[in-house]
């Protein structure tokens, strides 16, 4: 008697050793010690010959079960040790996640083009297309065809840069794009024309180059009410849903009637503050119904078609929106400024 007990004893011994094992190496040794060719279980089974066939069968079964049990314990323990080792390795390579990052720092878009895109995109969503024209413009497109004849005081409103090329000037507004569009396309016309314009002026609120966006809608039955509706929708998109607008009759040679468009001051909501100089309103753009003289100049019948046009200064909108005190900051390319936005 005693073989069975010996085997069970071996199992208990193995179990204990496996529990105590700390690494794969010890587990290998335990494996060899108990399950190897010359292992302890084999040793026990050597004395099997002395037993009867029934006993042999019985003991053999017990031995196999114990062998499997030990194998199972070894496998589980090995998996456990591997996990622990991996964990240790990962922890060793841990990173201080608060370290400063490194990657290409995304560039900054200029506020002017950013705002320009915002405005143009609003009009695109309304169905307008984008039109372009050169910055060195024919004098007649810039003035005469827009109903600004020579020697008219209206030419004083825009101090023009002249160049060494007869009949051309630096465009003083984006309005000549209206002329170019109407000369090449038939109504209905719905365009916005963003771009640089030039006037001889330089102080904290004027630079000799700045940006405008021109808009033009020509079709049958376009009225003042459409102008008001379109501008209201646009200005509410830019300055917020609660923005109120005011159209003040004014004068531009290429529109009749003409309007200065004001928005309720976003700083004080019309109460009057420093930004709006107490007026409660901010002048934001010029607009009007296309003057019949302009239609005639481009060969569109003013009895059949009507339309509205508007022009806004991008810098002014940016300065209001981002509270920028000096327009010249836009053009130095100073990274301390550019990277603020």
């Amino acid at each position: 008697m005693g073989l069975k007990e010996d085997l069970l004893k071996l199992k208990e011994e193995a179990k204990k050793l496996i529990e105590e094992a700390k690494d794969k190496n010890s587990l290998d040794k335990i494996k060899v010690k108990f399950l190897g060719k010359k292992g302890e279980i084999k040793q026990v089974l050597k004395s099997l010959g002395k037993l009867s066939p029934e006993e042999r069968k019985d003991i053999g079964k017990v031995a196999n079960r114990i062998k499997e049990e030990i194998e199972g314990l070894l496998k589980d323990k090995l998996a456990y040790i591997k996990r622990i080792e991996l964990e240790r390795e990962l922890r060793e390579n841990r990173i201080d996640i608060t370290l400063p990052s490194h990657w290409i720092e995304t560039g900054h878009q200029h506020l002017i083009t950013k705002t320009l895109q915002e405005v143009v995109d609003i009009f695109i969503s309304m169905g307008f297309s984008v039109a372009e024209g050169p910055e060195i413009e024919r004098e007649d497109y810039n003035f005469d065809m827009l109903n600004i004849p020579k020697d008219h005081p209206a030419r004083d409103m825009q101090d023009t840069f002249f160049i060494n090329k007869d009949g051309y000037v630096l465009r003083t507004h984006t309005s000549p794009v209206q002329i170019r569009t109407m000369l090449t396309e038939k109504p209905p016309i719905a365009i916005v024309a963003p771009g640089r314009v030039y006037r001889k002026d330089m102080d904290p609120t004027h630079t000799p180059m700045f940006h405008q966006i021109e808009g033009l809608l020509v079709d049958r039955n376009i009225t003042y009410r459409d102008l008001k509706g379109t501008l209201q929708k646009f200005l509410q998109e830019v300055f917020g849903k609660d923005t109120r607008i005011r159209l003040r009759p004014s004068y531009f040679p290429f529109t009749e009637p003409s309007f200065e468009v004001d928005i309720s001051c976003s700083m004080c909501d019309g109460e009057g503050c420093r930004v709006c100089k107490g007026a409660g309103w901010l002048e934001i753009l010029g607009s009007g119904m296309v003057d019949p003289n302009v239609f005639e100049a481009v060969g569109i019948n003013p009895e059949e078609y009507s339309g509205f046009a508007f022009g806004l200064g991008v810098e002014r909108i940016v300065m209001l929106k981002y509270r920028i005190p000096d327009i010249r900051l836009f053009y130095y390319g100073d990274m301390r400024f550019i990277k603020q936005f």
């Binding site: 878009q109 297309s129 050169p134 060195i136 004083d156 719905a190 003042y224 008001k228 005011r246 100073d334």
Partner: protein
Amino acid sequence: MKVPYSWIKEFVDIDKSAEEVVEKLNETGLEATVETFGEYIPNIITVKVLSVKKHPEKDRLYICEATDGNKTYQIITGADNVKKDSIVLLAQIGADIKGITIKERKFGSYTSEGMFLSLEELGLADNADGVWLLPPDTPVGVDGSKLLGLGEEKLIEIDITPNRGDALNVKGLAREIGAIFNIKRKEKKTDIKILNRLIPNISLETDKCYRYRGIVINNVEIKPSSLEVQLKLIKSGQKPINNVVDITNYILLQEGQPLHAFDLDKIEGKITVRNAKDGEKFLALDGNEYSLKSDDIVIADENGVIALGGIIGGETTKVDENTKNILLEAANFDYISIRKTSKRLAITTESSYRFERGIDVESLPEAENKAVEMILDLAGNNSEVMGEKDIYLYPYQPKEIKVRERTVKRIIGIDIPKEEIADILNRLEIPTETIEDGTVSKIPAFRSLDLTREIDLVEEVGRLKGFNEIEESFPSIPINTDKNISYYKFENRTRDFFIDNGINEVITYSFVGERIYKSLNLPLPDIEITNHLTTDFRFMRDNLAVSLIQVQKENLRHQIKDIAVFEIGEVFFNDFEEIRIGILLRGDFIKGFNFKKNKIFFTTKEKWSFLEVKGLIESYLKLLGITDFELKHSEKTYLNQYESAEIFVRGFNVGYFGKIHPEVAEKVEIHKDTYIGELKLKYVSRKLKENALKDGYLYTYFKLKDTPTFKDLPKYPSVKRDLAFEVDDTVSVEEIFKELGNSSKLIEKISLFDIYYLDENRKSIAVSVDFRDREKSLSDEEINREVESIVKKLKEKIKGLKLRG
């Protein structure tokens, strides 16, 4: 123009506050603001000077006695214009004058009990000569601040648009306010007696003067104006001079009719209104001598020019304290001539400003008569109007303009019945009647320049109806086609690409100066601004590099040494423009931390160099679908030719990039490892119908690129082989790649492995080649055979090539 509201109220009975009136003026189209005249100053009183004597101890000081009717004051003053009987403003003890409290003050052994005031000390003028002498009709012993209306009187300032010359005077403003509030304007007609004793000898010899009326008044006494006239002028921002001159200014403000008074006795013989002779000289009232041209209109006597018509009077015939007899001129000159002359000689006067914007030819006599009436009242107990001459060859014929109800509806968008249209226009003093389909108006002279067409009257109707009250609608806009949006989108995509790659957008002036071009050894641009602001803004740039270098310099001033910027903008040539993107890159673009055992340290990961810049441009071009570009060494004067390249697509130059030339870098004081590049995005035509999709511009290639179609995914594996070629140093990597690519259909991909120099003239170029047959798997043997054939072909194409290994 700034005038007291009370003056306007003399012409229209209105009970609204100045603030309400101003708000309505703005809403209906006249830009107006309101302000209060000065500030109430306590302890100012009018006094009459009783005696003036020199201070016995102090030079240049006077001791005056003055009375307010009850009390006598001893005042020490430095002003030498104070005389016995002068009426002046006295700041009493305790008055606050420009932040200083008046106290008793000793000058030698005499005490001053206050201070006589000048216009400057009252804050009413920027400078003043001496104490302000009030006219003899001023009451003595009254509160000076109250008398002047300080802190009380409202002033209305109007900034007109060029079409509203009619509103540049008190009467015109009253007319506008009357129309807005529907109150009839009032006006007192003049009644003067004109004798026929001395008809001025005036002849009109130019077609640039539409009316000329001269009136002779004799025995005029030149003296200060009445208090009322002086105050109105001061409140309107003008300086009182003497009664006659003040009255002409007064009428100009009130009626909008410029007037000029000549000293009749200084005029020699016959007066002619004519064009100037070229080179004719004229000494003006402003003290300057002007050289005239034949376009200028002048008033001349037998000795020469005595006034520049509508602009400024002459020194030789000016009214002074000794003047006895005057010729008063009221005229109407051609606004274009006035404008040209005024611009050329750079003289802008109240008179020229109004002429340029058009004045009322019809009310000229009445306006002048008002002046005559005032002169008779204020300047002459013995004066008589000796005679007049009014030359008015082509009297004003009012134009008739119809307004159709239909047009009002078509433009404004609401129905306004003809009766209402007529009512509005009549309120504006435009005589209007209704007809079958609308109204017909006779345009009065005071609006003759502005109101010439139906649309102009539609605007008048709308603005008085109140544009703001009219409800908005939303137009139905035809669906846009993509054709015009696509460049806009292309530019946005371009901008996004560079921003996403860490480059900052800048916008710089299109103007450039000669200096930077010289530094870069570049010829000056085609386009020169003839009236440039400064020499740095003299030309329109023909490249973006010059602008970006200036941005770099600006940032260097602020110790910003690493820079990555781009600009999308136009460059200008004689016959066309193009939109380019320019980039300037220098220094580190990725910084960060490296890890080593037991050590974490900050380091530069990437620095801009030729290959980084090339990579940036290459990936941008790939984004546009352009992979077939070629590089050639650049010969740009400002680049280091060994590290710069011109970029060609299908044989056309689309741009360049490279390292700045070290000499240029030194000259302009920027870093020598600065990289600059420019890419041409789009051709901009100045002609109307020129195809803008020209070769040599990236937008063109982007726009015209083929849509790629699907190819079957490879079924068989590729096989990699490394090959090393020994070649002469003159052979470029690109050549090897190109010839390799052409040498076998089985080559799918070639990548550079390494290059090393065997000696000064020979180098080894090692590449890794992927072979693939789309029909079958390649065997080693097949590849060996292919390589053999490739090497054979390469040896034929590239002299001195050997396969290594």
